[in-house]
């Protein structure tokens, strides 16, 4: 039998030849002229296509490449916003020591993974979850801090776990 869903390398090369040019142009416009970053993101976009076993890139190349590239742009801008929030937090907390450059990247990466799951939660649920799971407070202390009942804290925690699950596995 023929392998299922494999893209041949010839197909990939012609996809690249035909579409690389406009994709870089589009990204450069969105990045207000930053050519180097645009070229990197275009490269990442094609890498995703190459690693994907999906045929969608070949059936609908413009739509598919645009969607993937936009998602990479969003990832990048979220990463920067998180880094910014992190630096602001450190500045506001005099006792925190700014870690070295390689640790810095790891911290931002780890925070990014959590922020992805948290950003669409209702604010109260998010606050409860972060106080309990990230800061490690007992439910009673969370309830006192936010002036709600322990039962409400427990309901919010359950909601947050369900939401995190949906973000990753829905």
């Amino acid at each position: 039998m023929r392998p299922v869903d494999f893209a041949s390398s010839d197909e990939f090369v012609s996809l690249y030849r035909e579409h690389h040019g406009w994709l870089v142009q589009m990204l450069r416009r969105r990045l207000s002229g930053n050519s180097e970053n645009a070229a990197d993101l275009a490269h990442d976009t094609f890498e995703r296509v190459m690693r994907s076993e999906s045929r969608a890139a070949f059936a609908e190349p413009r739509g598919f490449l645009t969607t993937v590239a936009k998602r990479l742009l969003i990832d990048q801008s979220r990463r920067r916003a998180i880094e910014q929030a992190y630096l602001e937090t450190l500045a506001a907390r005099a006792e925190e020591v700014e870690p070295g450059p390689e640790t810095h990247a790891l911290v931002v990466e780890a925070l990014d993974a959590v922020c992805r799951m948290m950003e669409q939660l209702p604010p109260r649920v998010r606050q409860v979850f972060v106080l309990a799971q990230v800061e490690g407070l007992p439910y009673l202390a969370v309830a006192e801090r936010l002036g709600v009942s322990v039962a409400a804290v427990q309901r919010d925690i359950v909601k947050a776990w369900q939401h995190c699950y949906a973000v990753l596995y829905a």
Partner: protein, 326 residues
């Protein structure tokens, strides 16, 4: 993420798992812990939901530590999320949800959170960047222990299968993979290691870049396996090297590739990625399978297989499938 996202669980099970996460999340007593354990054991789907939430919990835990206090991590997350909702920029989420085909690529990629033992559930894959930049990918149903200290970088493969792409260590610490059968020392490289469970208990090694030195626990001499080669070893000896094709194992691309593989062996391989029983009737066991199949959707792989080889799939339940003559 990887995870292989094919296994859809009923919302009721996820709700129950979330309840148990909550109940065990704040100083649970012994009775609560025992009740949670009973719930997990009652059904394989309970355990899968639980393992997935545990994986998420590890990711959340990874936000602290590494010089960052819980308070600073929590503040950063809340600060970012509040700024974001002020900008009200949630349009993109719709696009991301529509991209189901890419979902598995981003699956459970993350960073080492400092814990020492990692597990993947059946059908789950996980990729981690270790502190030295080494990339560790775990295949389905695997357990590894990490020992990184001042003198060494060591990955202990207890069961299952991993792919490793090593990075040079600034501190010059030696890197090694320990299996029940011996020690593997890579020489700047990318390689996959699988610890077999059934019959042989051998360790299987495939090298894609560079070379790997194999030292069986009870052998006198070490052997080097080079790029493009694969070999098996037990505690006493290393087999002759066979050619290994490709840039990496097919599973790391989400595929199971068979080249004239016996059907019973093929089903055993596919069964590693799905919960429950996958049986092969004796009278079709010797049929040959050739092709590439997606491991994130094993039901579909079975359908394709049945169509091509003219076989019949008998589903007693979703988790008990027999493959036989049409």
């Amino acid at each position: 993420m990887s995870a292989l996202h094919s296994e859809r669980l009923h919302p009721d099970i996820i709700a129950q798992a979330a309840q148990w996460m909550m109940r065990t999340g704040d100083a649970p007593d012994a009775a609560t812990q025992a009740a949670c354990a009973r719930w997990r054991e009652a059904d394989a789907r309970h355990e899968l939901a639980w393992q997935r939430l545990q994986g998420i919990s590890q990711d959340v835990g990874a936000a602290t530590g590494r010089n960052l206090s819980g308070g600073a991590a929590g503040q950063t997350i809340l600060r970012y999320c509040e700024q974001r909702s002020r900008r009200n920029a949630m349009k993109w989420a719709v696009g991301a949800v529509g991209l189901g085909t890419l979902g598995w690529l981003g699956a459970r990629q993350g960073l080492w959170d400092g814990a020492s033992v990692y597990r993947t559930a059946t059908g789950e894959q996980r990729q981690m960047t270790l502190p030295d930049g080494t990339l560790l990918t775990m295949n389905t149903g695997s357990v590894v222990a990490l020992r990184y200290d001042a003198g060494q970088r060591r990955v202990e493969l207890r069961s299952g299968e991993i792919l490793i792409a090593t990075a040079a260590d600034a501190a010059g610490r030696p890197f090694g993979v320990m299996t029940p059968n011996g020690l593997l020392t890579p020489l700047g490289t990318r390689f996959a290691v699988r610890q077999m469970e059934a019959d042989s208990h051998a360790t299987h090694l495939a090298v894609y870049e560079g070379a790997v030195r194999v030292e069986p626990a009870r052998a006198q001499a070490a052997r080097v396996v080079h790029a493009g080669e694969q070999a098996s070893f037990d505690a006493a000896a290393v087999s002759a090297a066979m050619p290994a094709e490709g840039q990496g194992p097919a599973w790391s691309e989400g595929m199971l590739v068979a080249n004239r593989m016996r059907l019973d062996r093929f089903l055993a391989e596919l069964g590693r990625y799905r919960l429950g029983l996958l049986r092969c009737d004796d009278d079709v066991a010797a049929r040959e399978v050739t092709g590439a199949f997606r491991i994130d959707d094993t039901d579909r792989a079975l359908q394709v297989l049945a169509g091509v080889l003219d076989l019949r799939l008998r589903y007693r339940t979703r988790y008990w499938v027999s493959v036989g003559r049409a």
